[in-house]
């Protein structure tokens, strides 16, 4: 009861106004992303309407905007080119199913392996991809298009100094459309890009054969769409959490994204996910509750039905200007300045994520590389926390090695190198009670050391191995128990 009130009714006026602002910006984005995906604008517009409306009820992060997105459009590009729209709709349905499964098995927990640098890389790559997607509209065109785009950007960023009551992207679109019509400019408009919605969406099943062959075609795409969609949604949810200082339910969000995509697939829309830029616009405009998301979707459809004929007249230059704004607003410009300040490993992870994403046009691959790189750097750093001290005992006939620190695959060689096998000696004591053996590489490194000493005719005694190898058990979890810091940090 209480959360219903908080989610829906606590912020009605601001939510409705913010929804309207978002809807106005969603239209150009949905059209632009449809073009990226290679489908008619109506596919993206229906998807944006449907996803925004459904996620308002099913999502786990009130106030976050989800619709047709560039990240998803880039993934489906080749599928559409090779197999056509119907296969895209089928893949959209499968994406939804996979996302629901992911939510149910709480795959969202894996997000903790995505480090800050990877998130920054993801956001920057997304901004770059959105910008690059505008380039076809800016190449081989007359100077009118450049002038229009520049004027559009000027209006977008300068008009708020006049008034913040009217969305400046709307002013841009209205002004540029009027200019194009009045001057009768021969430049491309939205109507040239394909079919626009002329009616309310209707329920339909994708026209594909229901066999394994179809599954084999759509499954790889659906899997990537699932991963990209959830990544962007969960990252955006975290951003909105921070902006609003309120928590969200990440697993509910995963399931909600899935339901929204299934609904979208059934009305002829493409798969979508949360949008960073739009969510920031929503929060900035005062949107907080589920009503803002719902109203964004409803206003979007209402606008299309009311002024649909005019939408076809919007020059592409106006959309390009809006999309460049989204790209600028999404990019984390501070991250460039911080490249030098941050540790080199963080910067490399960020750049690797951006580079791989931009090269492959696949955010999933970029994030995978970023996560692997951060894991690699982490292992490298932790592997250096290893100290081997030795002292002669019993008048030089015995030597005691005291090991402290972390022994695992990345530090096993350093561990072996810490022993002096050439020393002629009766007995060696290896005290590992203050070390942690994390994996079988560590244990086999110890075996190796023991064997090497034995070959030299030296007796070996290993002290405290049980304690050291307690960390090897996979379910090892002392972090939440009293005394955990003694066990793990005590040296």
């Amino acid at each position: 009861m209480k959360s219903f009130h908080q989610d829906w009714l606590a912020n009605v006026r601001n939510d409705l106004l913010a929804g309207l602002v978002v809807a106005l910006a969603l239209i150009p984005e949905a059209i632009a992303f449809s073009i990226i995906a290679g489908v008619d604008p109506k596919v993206g517009l229906y998807a944006s309407f449907c996803i925004a409306v459904v996620i308002a009820f099913t999502g786990g992060r009130p106030g976050m905007i989800s619709a047709a997105t560039g990240a998803m459009a880039l993934v489906m590009m080749t599928l559409v080119k090779e197999y056509g729209l119907e296969y895209l709709l089928a893949a959209t349905l499968l994406t939804g199913v996979l996302q629901i499964v992911a939510g149910c098995i709480r795959l969202g927990r894996l997000m903790r392996f995505v480090s800050r640098s990877v998130v920054t890389g993801f956001v920057n790559a997304l901004a770059i991809l959105i910008f690059m997607a505008q380039l076809p509209e800016l190449t081989n065109v007359t100077w009118h298009v450049y002038a229009m785009t520049a004027a559009g950007l000027g209006i977008i960023y300068l008009f708020p100094y006049v008034t913040k009551a009217i969305p400046s992207p709307l002013v841009t679109i209205v002004v540029l459309t009027a200019v194009a019509i009045v001057l009768d400019l021969d430049i491309r408009s939205v109507g040239d890009m394909g079919e626009l919605p002329d009616s309310l969406p209707v329920f339909l099943l994708p026209d594909v054969p229901l066999d394994l062959e179809t599954l084999a075609i759509i499954f790889p795409y659906a899997l990537t769409l699932m991963v990209v969609g959830l990544l962007e949604s969960l990252m955006t949810a975290t951003i909105v959490d921070d902006l609003t200082d309120t928590p969200s339910d990440k697993n509910r969000e995963c399931v909600g994204q899935g339901v929204a995509n299934i609904a979208s697939g059934f009305i002829g829309g493409m798969a979508g996910c949360a949008m960073i830029g739009q969510s920031v616009i929503n929060v900035k405009s005062g949107g907080r509750g589920r009503l803002s998301t719902l109203s964004a979707g409803l206003f979007l459809l209402a606008l299309l039905m009311l002024v649909g004929d005019w939408v076809a007249q919007i020059p592409m230059a106006a959309l390009v200007a809006v999309m460049i704004m989204v790209s600028i607003g999404t990019f984390d410009w501070n991250s460039i300045r911080k490249l030098r300040e941050n540790p080199p490993s963080s910067s490399i992870v960020m750049i690797a994520t951006v580079a791989v994403t931009v090269a492959t046009h696949d955010l999933a691959q970029g994030v995978l590389v970023g996560v692997l790189a951060s894991g690699f750097f982490f292992a490298h750093k932790v592997g250096r926390i290893l100290q081997i001290r030795s002292a002669a005992e019993d008048e030089g006939r015995q030597r005691r090695y005291t090991i402290s620190g972390q022994v695992f695959f990345a530090s096993a060689d350093a561990f072996i190198a810490g022993f002096d096998f050439k020393e002629v000696i009766d007995k060696v004591v290896i005290d590992v009670s203050r070390a942690h053996f994390w994996d079988i590489t560590a244990v086999s490194a110890l075996d190796k050391v023991v064997v090497k000493f034995r070959r030299e005719g030296t007796d070996v005694e290993v002290v405290g191995l049980n304690k050291a190898s307690a960390t090897m058990v996979d379910k090892f979890a002392v972090h939440d128990k009293d005394g955990a810091d003694d066990l793990l940090m005590g040296h």
């Binding site: 908080q6 913010a18 960023y157 009551a165 969305p167 309120t246 830029g277 920031v280 929060v283 607003g329």
Partner: protein, 292 residues
């Protein structure tokens, strides 16, 4: 029973009720010889947006700039509230000590009122709050006897007795127990019998509504239980609508405080059939102790 964690928690904000809440809380703390804590809950209403900027344009570092703007705004509000809160809490503390509270602590917490009180519930013996807070005063000016929106939510959320007070303190001399024989009110009778809060005050038990066959037995039990612990008890069974009957009795016998069981049923049932507790609470013009 550890006396330290059996405190009286007075929830105050900058509404007209704050003084009265402090007075009643001091009265209860004195009678029960319990420590008093004055709590001011600062709710930044994170579920509401500010909505001044509808430009829809995002520029360089949009996300970071927005985060700074929003947190600066929140910080300014929270800081101002904290300072003001400290001032009026100090004043109320003096007032409560002067009114005879054995000890008075003061505390401020961030959060929504009902969530905060639920968190603080452990160790609380009695909550005291005004019929409506500052937020309801701005929302419904002039309708001074309306129940604030927070009150019902709080009453549902916590599981300890709650004293909701009306404006103006009058030391209770005669109290009325609205009794219906339900499990909640029977438990309430036990609580009253075993608490020093009403020791020595005459208690008027009223069972209102249609006579059912267990009615007289239940009423007699309540009367006996209370008499046995030394209360001077009058018990009546009066036909009619509970709301009107009790309002009439309060008037007729110059009652200073109404005691009743609260919310025996689920919120769902209350949504469909309405809630007797809410009706009685709304109709009451005197401080009301809700027994949970």
């Amino acid at each position: 029973m550890n006396k330290q964690d059996r405190k009286v928690l007075a929830c105050v904000d900058q509404s007209h009720f704050a003084d009265t809440v402090a007075d009643y809380a001091a009265w209860a703390a004195r009678r029960m010889d319990a420590p008093l804590e004055l709590l001011h809950v600062i709710d930044r209403h994170l579920e509401r947006g500010s909505g001044e900027d509808h430009s829809g344009a995002i520029g360089f570092n949009a996300q970071e700039n927005l985060l700074h703007d929003l947190s600066d705004k929140d910080a300014a509000v929270a800081r101002a509230e904290r300072e003001q809160g400290r001032l009026f809490l100090n004043r109320l503390r003096e007032r409560a000590l002067a009114a005879g509270a054995p000890s008075a602590d003061m505390r401020q917490r961030h959060g929504a009122l009902d969530d905060t009180l639920t968190e603080q519930e452990d160790g609380v013996r009695l909550f005291v709050l005004g019929r409506r807070g500052a937020s309801a005063e701005t929302a419904l000016p002039g309708r001074s006897n309306m129940l604030g929106g927070n009150v019902e939510r709080v009453v549902r959320a916590v599981h300890k007795p709650i004293l909701t007070v009306t404006k103006g303190f009058k030391e209770p001399a005669r109290v009325l127990l609205a009794y219906d024989g339900s499990a909640v009110t029977r438990k309430g009778v036990d609580m009253i019998a075993n608490s020093p809060l009403f020791k020595g005050l005459p208690i008027h038990i009223v069972m209102a509504g249609k006579e059912n066959k267990d009615g007289p037995k239940q009423l007699a039990w309540a009367q006996d239980t209370l008499s046995a612990t030394g209360f001077e008890v009058v018990a009546d069974h009066l036909p009619g609508d509970p709301e009107t009957v009790i309002a009439h009795e309060v008037e007729a016998h110059d009652i200073d405080m109404l005691l009743m069981g609260a919310y025996a049923h689920s919120p769902l049932r209350a949504l469909i059939f309405g809630s007797k507790t809410t009706d009685l609470l709304r109709a009451a013009t005197i401080p009301t102790l809700l027994l949970r």
